[in-house]
Symmetry: C2
Subunit: 122 residues, 2 copies
DNA sequence: CTTGCATCTGACGTCAATGTCAGGTCTTAG
DNA sequence: CTAAGACCTGACATTGACGTCAGATGCAAG
């Protein structure tokens, strides 16, 4: 599987895949001519990376986490434990912030509705 | 109240306040010598802006929303209605994504715990 | 009056993930 | 074989919300 196929099947750009490799998030074997070769399991890996990005993790954080998933050792498992809980807390807090912000927006929506009905009444 | 005080009391940087003004989110009166003067109510406004930023709104979107809050007219109220609902939906979706991502992280945490206990048993 | 801190404008720096372009090589369908 | 399209590396461009610096001016305390 070449890079364009993986990009299409994982729903990301070719540029992003090369960037992931540059950041150590993704590995590829190379054809004799130097073209990247992927197997089907990379699709899942890329989607997984995407989800972590979606959660707001940086490529650096992801790069620190992935080795622990790939081949757990005592050291990286301990380091990962800290990271994982930090990120989990961060996400939880972010969700709370967003919920509050959405509540604020809802108040604006109420105000807006009042304005609209008042203006429409003229 | 000068810009440094407002910055301190609203919990943002002086640079940010000037940026907000540049983006049309904040207005200031000027002293004869050109220094920005603020009243206490700007504190709430800045905090409000911060919450919208926290919700992921861009300065452009905020700039489009604020006039409707400040002085509602038929036109901006209609435009704002669309914006508000779009942003509300976006936030809701974002919350869902984050929740999913947190679930994914929780699975990693479980895996990590297994690794740790397995490694600790040696 | 001076010293030192706050403020002003304007401009360039930053960071992260990606877009985009250039100039060259590979692969594949016809 | 050839042309088109995918791929390669390397590099510069982009976006947004600021940080930071320079050089000039304002302001309050001693």
């Amino acid at each position: 599987m070449r890079i364009g196929d993986l990009a299409a099947r994982a729903g990301v750009s070719v540029r992003s895949l090369r960037y992931y490799e540059e950041q150590g998030l993704l590995v590829s074997t190379r054809s004799p001519s130097g073209q990247r070769q992927y197997t089907d399991k990379e699709i899942g890996r890329v989607r997984f990376i995407q989800r972590l990005y979606g959660a707001g993790l940086s490529s650096r954080t992801i790069a620190e986490l992935l080795p622990c998933v790939d081949s757990p050792t005592a050291q990286n498992a301990d380091a990962a434990w800290t990271q994982l809980h930090q990120e989990r807390d961060r996400i939880t807090q972010h969700i709370e912030e967003l919920t509050q912000a959405r509540d604020a927006l809802d108040q604006l929506i109420v105000i807006n509705r009042e304005h609209r009905s008042r203006l429409a009444a003229r």
